[in-house]
Amino acid sequence: MPTVTMTVNGMERSGNVEGRTLLVEFLREHLGLTGTHVGCDTSQCGACVVHVNGTSVKSCTCLAAQADGAEVTTIEGLANGSDLHPMQEAFREHHGLQCGFCTPGMVMSAVDLANQNSDPSEHEVREWLEGNLCRCTGYHNIVKAVQAGAKAMGGGS
């Protein structure tokens, strides 16, 4: 089995994987980073979104081998110790989560948007979240949280 090595949340991690092993499987099952979730098998729900080299990626649609040598950030790597990342804090403040299952993917996707646009309109947020499904919130508070989080980030993570 090939070995992959990547920097995950700032730490170099290696593992032997099958060629078909998905990035999300590597994160969850090899590294025990279970914050990244699997909600579907057609790349529709976005619960598995992580950052690969700073860009949001659906880790269910990416082979672990494709991330070899990459910088990967998961939801576990976003906060600074016990201080929540501004986007996490915005989700908490605006009740942008209920059951929490879609939340890691939503937050990681939102951070990528905010890195590109520090003041997204409601319309821009709703369009950006096209790849993230939530069944609990009706998106109302997620949209508010993403806008507030983007402003709090001030154009950078």
């Binding site: 699997v38 579907c40 057609t42 939801i75 906060a79 908490r92 059951c99 929490g100 998106y139």
Partner: protein, 785 residues
């Protein structure tokens, strides 16, 4: 009680959020047990077939495979039970066929469990399952109500002629017929309530373990009601006593009703773990979730409303056919009956109401509760019919509703329920104002100037929540009580653990219940933790569904806190050398009335656990449990207004505004309550415009992935305008009613009424759900000839 910084009435930020936001939630699939094996469930690819034989030899020889079990291996293990016995009009009990956990001799829907393969890895289990040869001898299938009731239809069960499970009724048929004879106007409607797939974003999962040393079984499962699973799995399926079966429902990623039922996979996993003596883990893939999670709705109805010359409702007659799917799921039989027919008074004084429901078996996934469960179906029919009556009689659609509102409480409906309290005018007025109903024609004109058709729709509704008084539901066929338990443990240094039999899978119980206890005991919010989801920790529970958690579970906690305070008064009285009757408790202090002599809760708690100076005859410790059986259902009510803009060239419907004016009783946490409303509204708009589960005639599921089944996405929805008018529930001490299902109950008819309002100038007078662009475009083309 008063609204302090974190008490009742405050929008406290949720205790749950930090773990969910940092990836530290612990969902079932996040749990791994030492030595675990992986199970893969082989499912039927055909809707109806005799199983001629199953050859597992190649699969059994595949790498990593430990065991394969099929229906014959589990023969003798009890079938999956259903929780509610319905009687037909003639007094006969419903037809209740067996439901083997693994199909025995026959498969009855695409997705029916055929075998479990257990291997070292999940990939090995799945690969080996592909090597199992099943001889499916296909039979004709019935995939819809129409097919099931057709002459000569294939029979899902030999013991259910015509595929009928029951033919039920509620209300006074003779009185209703008499009302129609007196009527000046009769308005009729035919509606279909589209079949939906719940689609909680967390797929179902389970891990079962058997400890040969103790004989104990543990099942981790994605459930809304772990104790109910223990009851059904233990007592009815595997024959395990409660003390040998622990059910843990850890963090659960949404339920919406689909995680109420006791599923076959839970029984298969637990039984398999017992056979192998090792933990077995199973995680449902989404493609299998579509064809194995229970579905919702799926009614065909016809209804007539009798009115006098002034537009007063005289009588309502409803005939419904409901699809139950291939087997009777846990709440399947009560959803189209006792959660549906008894809603038909709505908020109106209609003196005579009759509803009959015939339910059918079909070769489709079992149908069970989905957010609202029966009440959305009733509300949709009633509010479409009332709207149609206004149009046909030339009445204002607000005034026809107002003319018929119930205003005196308690109000006994002609269909069993007694409403305790409400103010339907207040929520109607609030919604009209908040939606700027009066200004709509200007907005319609503005849209028309852009070539768009704008419409506005309204729905005024009640629900029956807070499920449910045990004696009442028992007399109606429920096979369990529907009370709830709550325990409050004040620790020696004054922090508090609260144990509830309800389950939180997004509703924020850990926060709301902590607010109640914090407020009542005067302890810091952060010093209160709420424990749920583990049958080994919680005395008992019936779980979370039917918007019951706060009204029933919250009340149990309230009563347990009251018991704690009563005991605390005795301890404080002893310490203060006073009589317990003279002790008052407020803001965390026990005080001798009229004095400044007091003891804090912390001092009393410490004394309870270090009882050196203690009342004679009083037990040490400060922990109390209460079981609360509600006296009545609760009746949240409200008005929803939807405004849509339709592009007549494409048929595309845009929801431009949604206004809710809701009465959900006392609000503990406004932030959480509004969040529940948002989610319900999205679900309801999804049903009205986007979502539809479709089967081919041969029983193949057409909408079996997120690529085929349209889930509401962020860009499909507007922001919501939420408003509240509160009347208190009169029969629980908190005055709470429930909020989890409101949006999905109230808004679908408002949306469809708005679509029809938009298209009426084009000659379109009817519209089915979901009002997809294709359906709307076709309706416009037909109307335009």
């Amino acid at each position: 009680m008063s609204a302090n910084g974190s008490g009742i009435g405050a929008s406290v930020k949720r205790k749950e959020d930090t773990r969910f936001l940092t990836g530290r939630g612990r969902y079932t699939d996040d749990i791994n047990l030492p030595g675990q094996l992986y199970g893969y469930i082989l499912r039927s690819p055909v809707a109806h077939a005799n199983i001629g034989g199953i050859d597992t030899s190649a699969a059994a020889a595949a790498p990593g495979v430990h065991a394969i079990f099929t229906g014959s291996d589990m023969e003798g293990v009890g079938g999956i039970p259903t929780g509610w016995l319905i009687h037909s009009k003639d007094g006969e009990p419903m037809v209740e066929p067996g439901h083997p956990a693994l199909a025995l001799g026959k498969v009855r829907y695409v997705g029916d469990c055929v075998a479990i393969v257990v291997a070292e890895t999940s990939e090995q289990a799945k690969s080996a399952a592909n090597l199992i040869e099943v001889d499916y001898q296909e039979l004709p299938a019935v995939a819809s109500i129409e097919a099931a009731e057709a002459d000569g239809a294939a029979q899902v069960f030999d013991e259910a002629p015509g595929n009928v499970c029951y033919d039920w009724e509620v209300g006074d048929r003779a009185a209703t017929d008499a009302a129609f004879e007196e009527a000046t106007h009769v308005v009729s409607i035919d509606v279909v309530n589209n079949r939906l797939i719940p689609n909680a974003i967390e797929p179902r999962a389970a891990i079962a373990n058997y400890d040969p040393a103790t004989g104990d079984y543990t099942l981790y499962t994605t459930s809304q009601n772990p104790h109910l699973i223990r009851l059904l799995l233990g007592a009815f399926v595997l024959g395990l006593p409660e003390h040998k079966l622990r059910i843990v429902a850890p963090d659960v990623g949404g339920g919406f009703g689909s995680k109420i039922p006791h599923y076959a996979e839970e029984a298969i996993l637990t039984w398999t773990a017992g056979q192998l003596g090792r933990p077995v883990k199973w995680t449902c893939e989404r493609i299998d979730a579509f064809k194995s999670d229970t579905h919702g709705r799926d009614h065909i109805s016809t209804a007539r409303l009798a009115l006098d010359a002034d537009g007063k409702f005289l009588g309502l007659h409803v005939s419904t056919k409901a699809n139950l799917g291939a087997y009777l799921s846990t709440f399947a039989t009560c959803v189209p009956t006792y959660l549906y027919g008894i809603l038909f008074a709505g908020p109106y004084t209609t003196p005579a109401v009759y509803c009959e429901v015939k339910s059918f078996f079909t070769n489709t996934v079992p149908v069970d509760a989905l957010r609202g469960a029966g009440r959305p179906e009733a509300t949709y029919l009633l509010e479409r019919l009332v709207e149609k009556a206004a149009v046909e009689l030339g009445m204002d659609r607000v005034e026809i509703r107002r003319k018929n509102f119930i205003r005196e409480f308690p109000y006994q409906t002609p269909v069993a329920l007694q409403y305790d309290q409400g103010d339907y005018d207040a929520t109607l007025d609030l919604a009209l104002k908040a939606s700027d109903w009066a200004g709509f024609e200007a907005r319609r004109a503005e849209s028309a100037a852009r070539g768009k058709c704008r419409g506005i729709g309204i729905s005024t509704f009640i629900e029956a929540c807070g499920i449910a008084p045990s004696a009442v539901v028992g007399s109606l066929g429920a096979r369990a009580g529907l009370y709830e338990s709550g325990s409050v443990r004040v620790h020696p240094t004054g922090s508090v653990s609260v144990f509830t039999g309800t389950h939180s899978h997004g509703q924020g119980h850990e926060t709301t219940f902590a607010q109640i206890v914090s407020d009542m005991l005067g302890v810091d919010f952060e010093a209160v933790d709420v424990v749920h989801g583990d049958s080994a920790k919680i005395p008992f529970g019936m779980g979370t569904y039917g918007s019951r958690s706060l009204a029933v579970g919250g009340t149990a906690i309230y009563l347990a806190v009251e018991k704690v305070i009563e005991k605390g008064k005795k301890i404080a009285a002893h310490l203060l050398e006073a009589s317990a009757e003279d002790i008052e408790f407020e803001n965390g202090s026990f005080t001798v009335a009229g004095t400044d002599r007091s003891k804090s809760l912390g001092e009393v708690a410490l004394t309870a656990y270090v009882p050196h100076n203690y009342p004679a005859g009083l037990e040490p410790g400060l922990e109390e449990t209460a079981f609360y059986d509600p006296l009545n259902f609760t009746f949240p009510a409200g008005t929803h207004v939807a405004e849509v803009e339709v592009d007549p060239e494409t048929g595309e419907v845009e929801v431009v505004a949604v206004t809710g004016a809701d009465d959900v009783g006392r609000i503990i946490n406004p932030m959480i309550v509004d969040g529940q409303l948002h989610g319900g509204l999205a679900h309801g708009i999804g049903q009205a415009l986007l979502e539809e589960c479709l089967y081919q005639d041969d029983g193949q599921l057409q909408t079996g992935s997120y690529l085929d089944y349209t889930m509401p996405r962020a860009a499909d929805l507007p922001s919501f305008n939420i408003n509240h008018n509160t009347t208190l529930c009169t029969h629980n001490p908190l005055g709470v009613k429930g909020v989890g299902e409101v949006g999905s109950i109230g808004v679908p008819p408002a949306v469809i009424n708005a679509v029809i309002d938009a298209l009426r100038p084009l000659g379109v007078n009817d519209m089915a759900m979901p009002a997809t662009s294709q359906r709307v475009w076709q309706a416009i083309q037909q109307a335009q000839g």
